[in-house]
């Protein structure tokens, strides 16, 4: 054991140890020279310096390591000699490994890396499963009142906390984001403040709210100049003074992937939004939901015990008869699952598709390099044969070839890691400037990259190494190229694999591009052109809750009373803005618990007129509907709740009230370009927020008049106008990026495949030079020779194409959500793939074919 330790010590202090040895031997030589002044004697007594040094090193490295060392330096020398091969193989591998590592870095940041808190293994997300049994739906959070009950009764958790993010506040006219947290947030997580303190329990009481806040470290440094005396100072959030009690440590950026500038206690929401009548019920009533809950498991309790305790307590709280109890789910404390409703559904499939694509790129690079290695090994047949015939063992040779591959893979991994260091942060900054992921690679990323390199090395190196050392020595020594290949040559399999993978990647990219085109030209079901959206900017503190409702009805009346304005309508959210509000409803007569989730928009009748969405049954909203219990359904909702019957005049149940269906609107993509969800339109009341105003054909004059109406109602108000088509463009932005990324990957795949193919063809020409020369000497035309060369691999190409197409059509099912309704068998996308691939194959074969056609018969026949 101590021997092993000394060996390891040697590895770390090698330079020092070797210098010692050198000096000691130098001393020895000097002493010899003194004793034998005539040089001859000294040289005889001295011996071989290099050998002595190498042998000394071998003592420490041990026989196995010493051999490895020798193979490594041999491999490096070999790679350095063949620069072209090394450059191609290295860049292919480095790009593939780099892309995989970059993706993994992102995945690591959102899904694997635990929150930077004390003992993160005990900190978990607590989620509620909506519905039960076969109708189990998505995951959701908990209400404040529910959290309070759970906190008071739990034994499985030493602490439970609640967070709710996404409150925008203005500080010195800069928009910043605030996250509401329970008073125990920092103490349960065990976050040590960089300055000041976390919240105290008495600072989060619904009846006695305190205006205190904790600052994010980055915000403190950037927006507050790192003011060392910030603690105790007052900062005005939306003009409401808050006292800063602490600054979070640099490592802690919150428990969600979203950026947080301030944390404040839940109850402080009453101070920030004094006019919002919903805040107090949100803090105290059981009817309000849902914030994200996390907790620290008590010692000795498992996640399952925690989940069943939460289920039990929720059942107690809501009474057994309630369907509310539901199931509880506990997951690791990482950012991905923090807000399940919004994150999980979008991020996970996208990540899965990306991982699949990146794995394919890596496999492609491996097949590629494997093929190049095969060609190289064929060129080294003589060397290998000589070594085998001189008694080198086959295992030893395979090891040496593998070490060479390993060197290549390791160098590629280093380059890839460098790529991954810079790429994800740049990509993430473009895609989602709001996020706060830590995207620097950590040990997990390095371990992932290293294992990728080792797997890749085995994938591309092992088979060629085995094949290269296989076969008869005598034939190889005579450079006797075998005229018959084995039935399934490795080279053809690798070639087919390359073609198949490229086809899959290209087809995926093609389909996504087609999906994007389709979405840009599809009929959204409503008018986009010449519709203007007017968004109101009013002092947020004053305009929430009841005040917003009053303002909404005043605005509605003012717009209706002012003559000569173009048609206009109010809406809670702008079409294609990708903002979704859900509620659950059931048909009157269905038992409670049969609720289904629908999308909801609050609108006025003008909404349907401006957007030209026709009503297929019943009537539109009238101004008098604002306080009445009527709704409109879209066709999908009508079908889903009432089947073939006309829903007009029938009723639905929602939030404990009964609503009459006044009419049915034609289906339209009012939320996003994807599938149309069941949608319920409610009369606009301003209950959520201030409405947007949609205006048809708004000229400059009518815009000014609308702005004047708003100012008349609220002198501080401002109106921002934007064309509705802007929304469609930003809606398609992620799809555009995805298509761009897929296209780039596809081109990369194509480039890799072309390099691979041209490598194979070049090798074939080299291997069959003699045969080609013979045929040409006997009068074969160069074109015939070229055809012969290509024909032998046509079968591999055809197989690759077939497998690739099958794989692509299977994979396209996964991509369906990103294809906006384009068929997975879209002929145009596939035709494009074929054209590109054939062009690439032609290009790849051009150079080797020309070389083959130019083979001089005499030279070729004399070639050994």
């Amino acid at each position: 054991m101590s021997k092993l330790l000394r060996r390891i010590q040697y590895l770390f202090r090698r330079n020092r140890m070797e210098a010692d040895l050198a000096e000691e031997m130098e001393f020895h030589r000097a002493m010899l020279a003194r004793e034998f002044p005539d040089g001859a004697g000294a040289a005889r007594a001295w011996g071989n310096t290099t050998l002595a040094r190498e042998d000394s090193r071998a003592v420490w490295l041990g026989p196995w390591l010493e051999g490895f060392w020798r193979d490594l330096s041999y491999g490096v020398r070999g790679l350095a000699r063949e620069r072209g091969f090394t450059a191609v193989a290295l860049s292919a591998l480095a790009i593939a490994i780099g892309l995989n590592t970059a993706l993994f870095t992102v995945f690591n940041a959102i899904a694997l890396r635990p929150w930077p808190v004390k003992d993160p293994g005990r900190v978990v997300n607590v989620l509620r499963r909506i519905g039960s049994g076969s109708r189990a739906g998505g995951l959701d959070g908990f209400g404040v009142a529910e959290w309070r009950y759970l906190t008071e009764h739990t034994k499985a958790f030493t602490g439970l906390l609640l967070t709710r993010n996404g409150e925008r506040v203005e500080v010195d006219r800069r928009p910043l984001s605030l996250t509401w947290v329970t008073g125990n947030y920092f103490s349960v997580l065990g976050v040590e403040m960089a300055r000041g303190r976390g919240f105290l329990p008495e600072e989060d009481r619904a009846q006695a709210p305190e205006a205190v806040a904790v600052l994010n470290y980055g915000t403190w440094r950037n927006d507050f100049g790192g003011d060392p005396s910030i603690v105790g100072k007052t900062v005005r959030l939306d003009e409401v003074p808050f006292t800063i009690v602490g600054v979070a440590p640099e490592t802690f950026t919150g428990t969600s992937p979203l950026r947080v500038d301030f944390w404040a206690p839940l109850s402080a929401r009453r101070v920030l939004r004094p006019h919002d009548a919903e805040v107090l019920p949100w803090l105290t009533s059981l009817d309000h939901c849902c914030s994200s809950m996390a907790g620290r498991l008590a010692p000795g309790f498992t996640r399952e015990q925690g989940a069943s305790e939460v289920e039990l307590l929720m059942g107690q709280l809501h009474g057994k008869s309630e369907h509310e109890g539901g199931g509880a789910v506990i997951t690791s404390g990482t950012a991905l699952l923090e807000s399940p409703d919004s994150q999980e559904h979008q991020v996970v499939p996208a990540l899965a598709a990306m991982f699949a694509a990146m794995t394919l790129v890596l496999l492609l690079a491996c097949a590629n390099v494997g093929n190049l290695l095969l060609a190289r090994a064929a060129a080294r047949r003589t060397e290998i044969a000589v070594r085998l015939s001189l008694g080198g063992s086959r295992g030893r040779l395979i090891r040496q070839l593998l070490v060479e591959s390993f060197t290549l893979a390791l160098a590629a991994a280093a380059l890839g890691l460098a790529l991954a260091w810079s790429a994800p942060a740049a990509i993430a900054a473009r895609l989602e400037p709001e996020n706060a992921f830590g995207l620097t690679p950590d040990w997990r990323v390095c371990a992932y990259t290293a294992s990728l390199a080792i797997l890749a090395c085995l994938a591309f190196g092992l088979a060629p190494a085995i094949q290269a050392t296989h076969g008869r020595i005598a034939g190889a020594l005579k450079r006797e190229a075998p005229l018959r290949f084995s039935r399934l040559p490795l080279r053809s399999v690798l070639l087919a694999a390359q073609v198949a993978i490229s086809v899959m990647l290209l087809a995926g990219a093609g389909l996504m591009v087609r999906g994007l085109q389709h979405a840009q030209h599809q009929d959204p079901g409503f008018r986009i052109d010449q519709v203007t959206v007017a968004s109101l900017e009013l002092p947020a503190a004053a305009y929430s809750g009841q005040r917003a409702k009053i303002f909404t009805s005043q605005l509605q009346n003012a717009l209706a009373e002012t003559g000569g304005l173009p048609a206009s309508g109010l809406a809670s959210d702008v079409p294609m803005e990708n903002s979704r509000t859900f509620t659950d409803i059931r048909r009157t007569g269905e038992p409670p618990g049969r609720e289904r989730i629908v999308q909801m928009h609050d609108v006025t009748g003008g909404y349907f007129e401006v957007l030209r969405i026709p009503l297929v049954a019943g009537r539109n909203f009238t101004p008098g509907d604002a306080g009445r219990q009527v709704v409109l359904l879209n066709e999908t909702a009508a079908r889903s709740f009432f089947g073939a019957d006309s829903p007009v005049g029938k009723t639905i149940e929602s939030a404990g009230k009964t609503w009459e269906v006044a009419g049915v609107a034609k289906d339209a993509h009012t939320t996003d370009p994807g599938a149309i969800a069941p949608t319920v339109y409610w009369p606009m009341t301003g209950r959520f927020n201030l409405p947007h105003v949609l205006i048809a054909d708004a000229g400059a004059a009518s815009r000014e008049r609308i702005a004047a109406i708003v100012r008349g109602l609220e002198p501080k108000g401002r109106v921002v106008f934007a064309p509705l088509s802007d929304n469609l463009r930003s809606q398609l932005e992620p799809a555009r990026y995805a298509a761009m990324l897929a296209g780039a990957l596809g081109l990369l795949a194509l480039a890799l495949a072309s390099i691979g193919m041209s490598g194979v063809f070049a090798y074939m020409v080299r291997q069959r030079t003699r045969e080609i020369g013979l045929r040409m000497a006997l009068g074969a035309h160069p074109a015939q020779v070229v055809r012969m060369i290509l024909a032998s691999h046509l079968r591999a190409l055809a197989w690759g194409l077939a497998v690739g197409l099958a794989g692509a059509s299977a994979a396209s099912r996964l991509l369906r959500s990103m294809m906006n309704g384009v068929s997975p068998f879209d002929p145009l996308a596939y035709a494009g793939v074929f054209a590109l691939l054939i062009a690439a194959a032609a290009a790849a074969s051009a150079i080797p074919a020309r070389r083959a056609a130019r083979v001089d018969p005499l030279t070729a026949l004399r070639w050994e």
Binding site: R7, D20, L21, E23, E24, F27, A45, G47, N48, T49
Partner: protein
Amino acid sequence: MTHKPLELLPGTLDTLILRSLQRGPLHGYAIMQALRDRSDEILQVGESSLYPALQRLLLNGWVKAEWGASENNRRARYYTLTAPGRKQLASERADLERMMAAIRQVLETA
């Protein structure tokens, strides 16, 4: 008369080095001199076997090395026998002597 230098039997060099260190620390050159002088110049140890052997002894922990001043005031590396080294020498020496007795016996009687 001078004897023709002989190659050492494999495996004996380590034991001889340990034995030469029993009287006290020596540097590499002094070890070589000691082996040569005490064998009446029969045992000539080349440096290409001496230094790897010393590294082997270091690796096994039988000797330790320290820099010190040589007799002519140059920096030299002195090797010292460790406790495990002493134990190793005792057992190796016994083995070696039995081996040599056996060889002599075979040479004289056969």
